[in-house]
Amino acid sequence: MCDQTFLAISFGPCDKCVKTKPLMNIYIKTDQFNYCSLCVEMMANEGLRDNETLSSLKNESETLKCKLEEERAKLHDVELHQVADRVDALGQFVMKTRRTLKGHGNKVLCMDWCKDKRRLVSSSQDGKVIVWDAFTTNKEHAVTMPCTWVMACAYAPSGCAIACGGLDNKCSVYPLTFDKNENMAAKKKSVAMHTNYLSACSFTNSDMQILTASGDGTCALWDVESGQLLQSFHGHAADVLCLDLAPSETGNTFVSGGCDKKAMVWDLRSGQCIQSFETHDSDINSVRYYPSGDAFASASDDATCRLYDLRADREVAIYSKESIIFGASSVDFSLSGRLLFTGYNDYTINVWDVLKGTRVSILFGHENRVSTLRVSPDGTAFCSGSWDHTLRV
């Protein structure tokens, strides 16, 4: 410090220590200060202290992570399939394709059932969104979106509107009208605005709010009427690929899965992440709540599906086989939660026994990878959409 010589512009009281000394003019964030050289040295050291805090914070986060794992492991006293040993095994299943819905010109990317258990909406790469009647296989409505790769679509709980989005970075809501003369595209309402593609969307319990997940790493809750952002959820380190809302009427949580291999559970009202799970080895393509709301399953590119229990705060089951090497793209539970249907990139659908962790059946039929899968609201059927341009019920 004694080696430093500087041109003293002024001599007077230092702004910091108030001693009368030769002063240096310093600019901090556009404000000009006069500090003596001693104070300048001390402030430079404070910067160093911040760096030390950075590494100490890193250490703290590592220790906290270890502690979290330990806490979780403490309660891991038994495996789910051990508890399920006493349950009767399921017999052989024969499930047949009852309906094949043809009409999309390109890969089917997403579908959703209507609450009336017979209608469903599906979206595809060519920008078309079609509403089908699954009983009769008639197409009831068709909309052409201005963008391709419509990766998300959802049916409103009332059955009066559909929401869809994709590469256009926004979610549009179309009210469904039976008037043949009305052009559906004219009534379109743009609700969400993201900075990257829309990967998933879902109506909450009412027609008035939509939850969206996007490639920009965030999820957001929007008001449909005003288009206003009600809450945003930050925390994923990469694209968010899927989301699912908790099933109960009073449920205020939703789970999202992303390319950062994490599945996170959020509180809708506060925007806080309540729990997070990072045991997958690759992107999580689809998440779905267990019917009781106490657990959720996730399907990932690492060819496994895993069941996470929310109250035990850990993964409780893995559904995988040596012979399955292709990623799982979608997952859904049957009504009772006993069966788990998963669609894979090797064109098949596997049916797993949730409690025992064993595969019950494989369903063939699609000629390209299965991209989306949903069980109907009353559990009588499930629909799968595939890159072979068709949907099967």
Binding site: D77, A134, F135, Q275
Partner: protein, 68 residues
């Protein structure tokens, strides 16, 4: 200033981990038992599990009615 943003990110991470560490947890055996119970309770209502009689299956092949 990038060190500052790293700092804030790390601080947020530490806060988040502390939050997650404080979550109330129950034993896996209890959670598994409750999952199992839910399954068994609702198994009879599950059409995909027990199958529906062909008469009431809404997705059966449509047969044309014969008019007398």
């Amino acid at each position: 200033m990038s060190s500052n943003s790293n700092l804030t990110t790390m601080r947020r991470l530490v806060e988040q981990l502390k939050l997650e560490a404080s979550v109330e947890r129950i034993k896996v055996s209890q959670a598994a038992a409750e999952l199992q119970q839910y399954c068994l309770q609702n198994a009879c209502k599950d059409a995909l599990l027990v199958g529906v009689p062909a008469g009431s299956n809404p997705f059966r092949e449509p047969r044309s009615c014969t008019l007398l």
